[in-house]
Symmetry: C2
Subunit: 135 residues, 2 copies
């Protein structure tokens, strides 16, 4: 299905929340309670965003997360790639050289689908957290 996963949904919600409350450091617990997101799952998601450098973490009591970049420099595309590693419509595009799809190299939809995908990615790449936070 052409649907965003819960992980990405939670990621967007969390980053939006952190962006709005950028004056202080935000814990996973606070986001979980305020946004109604399962704590454990959210923690995993935040850790993943932290590993990919989208946010920075502070351990220990009074710890939490802050954004690494300005909300205007943080796009939905960044979030998708951080949380799913790739962002490809069909298996054909997963690896740029290693062709996975069994129709390759004579796949009749590879080129047009690649064009379609890059158009969609451009939409994701130009939608920022700043814009989302502004509503």
């Amino acid at each position: 299905m052409i649907k965003l996963s819960k992980k990405i949904e939670y990621g967007i919600l969390a980053l939006q929340y952190i962006a709005i409350h950028s004056d202080k450091i935000i814990s996973a617990k606070e986001i979980s309670e305020q946004m109604g997101i399962p704590y454990e799952f959210l923690s995993k998601t935040l850790q993943q965003l932290m590993k990919k450098g989208l946010i920075q973490s502070q351990q220990g009591i009074k710890g939490g997360y802050v954004l690494s970049k300005k909300p205007s420099d943080l796009t939905v595309k960044d979030i998708i790639i951080a949380l799913e590693g790739k962002a490809s419509f069909l298996d054909c595009f997963v690896s740029s050289k290693g062709l996975v799809c069994d129709r390759s190299p004579n796949c009749t939809i590879k080129n047009p689908m690649e064009r379609l995908q890059s158009k969609v990615m451009q939409v994701f790449g130009t939608t920022t957290i700043e814009e989302i936070a502004a509503n």
Copy 2:
């Protein structure tokens, strides 16, 4: 994941094949063999596309499928909606009035996500089978 399902992939491949060979009626078997798609699964998909009026069928020996519309009037969006009933990123947008998401009506990402979705849908809605068949 932001991925197209196999059903949609097969649907696009099949419609492309039918569009290219529009001089004759095309059976599911032929598409299955030529495109390397599981026959039973493809049949189901074609029947679904037929029910939604994207293609027309002819039963019996020498039967098969032809397009209902011109390839230039048939979009990827049409195919997604025909095969998945909806085309929405988050559960919020499934029903226009009945709010499904538990954050509603105070969801902080509903509006921006709705805008994002309509942009993506516009991309799908302007990508035609004709364009895909042309490669």
